[in-house]
Every structure is written in C-alpha cells, then in structure tokens.
C-alpha cells in the first residue's frame, strides 16, 4: 500500500484549470467516498480550497489510481495539456506535503491559518463518509499535531501581510480593543471600504463616512452600518474619532495640520491614528509631527506588510526542519 497525493495549486495551475477540478466544500466528503470506491483505491480524502485541489489516497497501484482519480474528477479522460498542471507525491513526500499544507507553508499567503481548518474539515467529511481507514486516519491526525507544533514553535504566523491587516493591527496596538473606537472614513473608495470593514470586523464602535459625493458616502455608510457626513464637515468630526482612514482621489492634501491643531484641546489630546492610503497622499506629513498623532501612509503600511511576508518566508526553513523530524517519527 502506498500513500499517494495528486493535486493542483495556485503555483502549478491557473484558476481556469483549478476550477475544472474544484469540489464545493460541502461535497468533499461525498467525492472522497466516491474516489475511495474506485478500483485499487483503499482510502481517500479530497481537499478543495480556492487555491488548491488535492486528493490524498492509499492505493495499491499508483499509475492505475492516478488515471482513475483524475478521470473521476474531470468526468472524462484528462488531456495531456491539463495533466501537466498536476503534481503527485508518494509515501514520505506525500506525508511531508500534507504537513506543509497543514502548517501553511504551502499557502499563497505563507503561514495563513485558514488552511488548517480547511484540511480538518475535509478530513472530517471524508471520515464521516467512511472514506478513510487506518492509514489516512493516523496520517491526518499526526499532520494536525505537526501543524500545531510548527505554528507554536516558529514565527510563521507572526506579522501581517496585507496593508489592511497591518493598519488594523496598528489600531489595536494603539487603542487595544476597538469596541470603544470611532472611525472616520474620508473618501469612499475601495481601499477605504476594505480597511473600514476590517476595523468594523474587529469591533470598531462606529464608522462615519465623508465623501465629496454625499450620495456615495451614504451608500458606503449604509454598507458599513455607519453614518454619512458632508465632506466639508469632516474637520468637525475629527474632534471625536480615534481612527481616520483617508483615501480620496484628490490631487492635493486634504487633511492639514491646522485641522488637527484646531481639535486637539477638544479631544483632550487623546491619541489619533491616521491611515493615509491615497496616492497622492491625502494627509499632510506634518500632521504626523503632532505629538499624539500616529500617521501611516500607504508606503509605510506596504513596507510593514512586505516585512511581515519576508519574516514568514525566513521561517519556512525552520518549519521544514520540524516537519522532516516529525515525519521521520511518523514513519518509524
């Protein structure tokens, strides 16, 4: 019996290929069961996410199983053109690969945590449909403990890798829980919306939107369950908010030091966090020189996100070391 893995992921196949083989999340167990019933296949787990489609198998004959499984997934014989996108792993390599996937080092965003839950769910469904047996049960259980060990013993999850999440993390570093924080969004662009949504999802108390087109401000405010104000009133709102996300299309700076100076006393000099994600910048850099102001523009946020990515990348070698040691133990 061999442990065998067939798969496609974001590195080997474009989305138009991946979607041809994709299985919807609730169907993973059912498809695992169908595959486990194919000739020569003893056990199967189908894992299908937006970035990967993989089948973990216990088979007698690798070549035969490979043909049958791909044919089953495609609903027809797989052309050579499509076949070139598949990768296959056998025995130790398959075990290592599963541990890499569970640990997040094989993900598009290295160290992301969602994949751990996705693999668990795929295995749960396959197990519930009795598509797994002694070998895959042991292998998946072990892979989960390896995944936990890798995440606990390395810094693979440390730092943020997107501008929005860096900004939200910074807001939490300043204000702690955001449940008492009020956010003002200046400009109703996509970036503002995404960042405001992240702040809202982390518990921001209220969101106020100011935009040159009041209609768009109202739309965004409704979407974010917030309140819209006229654009020329944003400086008055500054007195009460904690976080300002600015992303207007203005060709010049919109928020000036005098706007902030005017409300400092009223704010009792409480800290305020400005997130300037506009290009060209909306907030005069001199605003950042005011004592209680923390100002981050797109470049500094992007730099922090890049640092986060490269730090995670640096951790990959440590993760692989842990995985190899643990896989040796599994195989003993």
């Amino acid at each position: 019996m061999k442990v065998y893995c067939i798969g496609l992921n974001h590195e080997t196949a474009p989305v138009e290929v991946r979607e041809q083989f994709a299985v919807t999340a609730p169907q993973q167990g059912e498809v695992s069961k169908e595959i486990a019933q194919l000739e020569g296949v003893e056990e199967a787990v189908v894992l299908s996410t937006c970035n990967r489609m993989e089948v973990y198998l216990v088979v007698e004959n690798v070549e035969q199983a490979d043909d049958f499984v791909k044919h089953h997934l495609a609903g027809q014989k797989v052309s050579r053109e499509l076949d070139q996108h598949f990768y296959t792993k056998e025995d130790t390599h398959a075990v290592c690969h599963l541990c890499n996937v569970v640990s997040g080092i094989n993900s598009m965003v290295i160290g992301e945590t969602e994949i751990f839950g996705q693999v668990k769910e795929a295995y749960r469904q396959a197990h519930a449909k009795e598509a797994t047996g002694g070998i895959l049960n042991k292998l998946f259980q072990k892979s989960f403990s390896v995944g936990k060990k890798v995440r606990n013993q390395t810094q693979i999850q440390i730092g943020q890798t997107s501008v929005g999440s860096v900004a939200v993390d910074l807001a939490e570093k300043i204000f702690g829980h955001l449940k008492n924080s009020q956010v003002m969004v200046v400009g109703a662009g996509e970036m503002s919306r995404t960042t405001a949504q992240s702040l809202r999802s982390r518990g921001a108390k209220s969101i106020i939107v100011a935009n040159r087109s009041h209609e768009r401000a109202v739309d965004l405010a409704n979407e974010l369950k917030g309140e819209a104000v006229k654009f020329d009133e944003f400086d008055k709102v500054l007195a009460k908010v904690d976080v300002v996300v600015s992303s207007t299309g203005a060709p010049h700076t919109v928020i000036l030091p005098e706007h902030v100076e005017a409300v400092r006393k009223k704010r009792k000099y409480r800290p305020i966090f400005f997130i300037d994600i506009a290009v060209p910048r909306d907030i005069d850099p001199k605003v950042g020189e005011i004592e209680e102001v923390y100002l981050y523009d797109l470049d500094s946020l992007q730099q922090l996100a890049e640092e986060g990515k490269s730090k995670r990348q640096e951790q990959v070698d440590y993760c692989i070391e842990i995985i190899e040691t643990e896989v040796e133990k599994i195989l003993l």
């Binding site: 570093k173 704010r267 009792k268 800290p271």
Partner: protein
C-alpha cells in the same frame, strides 16, 4: 551573617534573576512565565528583610536610605504582583524587575544601611508615626509602578512614531491606551495613599508644622494632585503625561532626604 543581610541578598538575587530571565525570554521572542514566580520570591525575601530590620529597630524600618529603598522596592513588588496578573499587562515585569534590582542593589552600598541601628525603647513607639511611614512608602510603590508604565508608553510611542515596529519588544507591548490608563490609575492610587500618609502625620507625637519634610511632602502632594486634575480636566498629551510621571516621581523622593 545577620538574617537581614541574607534576606537582602536573596531579594536581590530573585529580582536580578527575574530581570535576566525576562530579558532572555524577550530575546527569544517569548514572555517569561517565571517573572511572577521570581518576583514572589523577591517579595517574600523583602518581607523577611523588613521584618528583621523592624525587629532590630523596634519600629517600622525606615531609619536610613537603605531601608527606605528596600521599602519602596517592596511596595513596588507588591503593586506589581497585584496589577501585573490582574490587568495582564505584558512586559510590566520586564520593566519593573530592573528597577527593583537597582533599588535593592543600591541599598547594599556601604553606609546606606546602618549595620547596628539604634533600637528605640519600649513604649515610645508612635503608632501614627508608624502608619504615616508605612502609608507614605506604600504610596511610592504605586507611584513608581505608574512611572514604569509611563516609561513603557514612551518606548512604545517612540516605536510607533518612528515606525520601527519590528522586534519582540514591540510585539509584546500592551496597547498605548492600556499603558496610559494603567499609569493614570496607579498614580491616582498612589496619591490617595499618600494623602492618607500625610494626614496620619498630623497625629504624630512629634508633629511640627514647620518641618521642611512636611512642607516638601505637601508640595509633592499638591504637584501630583494638580498634575492629575490638569490631565483629567484640561487634558494632556500622553507623552507629556508620561514625562511628568517620571519627573514627579523623582521629585517626590526629596522629602525622604529631609526626614
């Protein structure tokens, strides 16, 4: 060896090891889980030291600079043990343990601790005087820890302003708001205890309204009260608040020189 010397050395060892462990853990990217345990050890040793010195003097052991420093270190450790775990303020131990170590270490400098303190005669103990001394020193523990939280804020503020957000120190720092709130709360607690300490001095046998010690202590009290009311009513930038906490704490040590 005098038992008080052994207790003194033990408290220094515990505080130093806690500081070193905290620093090494931070370098490894972790928070030290041993800080609270080691600080408890330091606290027990400090209690023993103060007990032995109290026995030697026959009264509250605040007769020389060494005892005053040890008493403040004890008070700071006491507040750390209450505040640290209760508010889950990460790294408060890392910043507190060096301060406790310095105070305990400085108290070892020859001449700061009288080797054979004079024991007062039985019956001449002034309960109000003892209460005054104990409350005053206790208040300094809260004020010192408030200053520690303020220093932590200054470090975090600098990192946020300069956008140098790497390193385990930044990662483990509590949020800006939490540090400022903690510093403010501890300073208020310190002021309330200091008020009780000063009020109890009015009942002392040897109370003198012309004493420079009293007037400097009242001056410190007024400065703290004015500072806190200003920050609550008019407002103050967190950086100014933190700097004032530090300046006032060191200024507040002046009355001790005038005992």
């Amino acid at each position: 060896m005098e038992p008080s010397v052994g207790a003194h050395a033990a408290s220094l060892c515990f505080a130093l090891v806690a500081a070193i462990f905290g620093f090494l853990s931070l370098r490894k990217g972790k928070k030290s889980h041993w800080t609270i345990v080691l600080m408890t050890g330091a606290f027990i040793a400090q209690c023993a030291f103060l007990y032995f010195r109290g026995e030697m003097r026959g009264k509250c052991p605040l007769g020389d600079w060494g005892e005053i420093l040890m008493f403040i270190a004890w008070s700071l450790t006491l507040f750390y043990m209450f505040i640290g775990p209760a508010y889950r303020v990460s790294l408060l131990g890392l910043f507190s343990t060096p301060l406790v170590s310095i105070m305990t270490g400085v108290a070892l400098i020859p001449g700061l601790l009288e080797s054979s303190p004079e024991r007062i005669t039985k019956g001449s103990v002034d309960a109000w005087g003892e209460l005054h001394a104990a409350l005053s020193v206790l208040s300094y523990g809260a004020l010192a820890l408030g200053m520690v939280a303020a220093v932590m804020f200054l470090v975090l503020d600098k990192q946020l302003k300069k956008q140098k957000l790497t390193g385990v120190l930044f990662k483990n720092m509590p949020p800006v708001f939490q540090l400022i709130a903690l510093s403010k709360r501890l300073t208020w607690v310190g002021l309330v205890i200091l008020t009780a300490g000063i009020l109890s001095s009015f009942k002392m046998h040897n109370f003198s309204s012309n004493s420079p010690h009293l007037w400097t202590a009242v001056g410190v009290w007024v400065a703290y009260l004015g500072f806190l009311i200003w920050s609550e009513v008019i407002g103050m930038t967190p950086r100014s608040f933190a700097k004032c906490c530090g300046i006032l704490f060191f200024a507040s040590l002046v009355p001790f020189a005038l005992i």
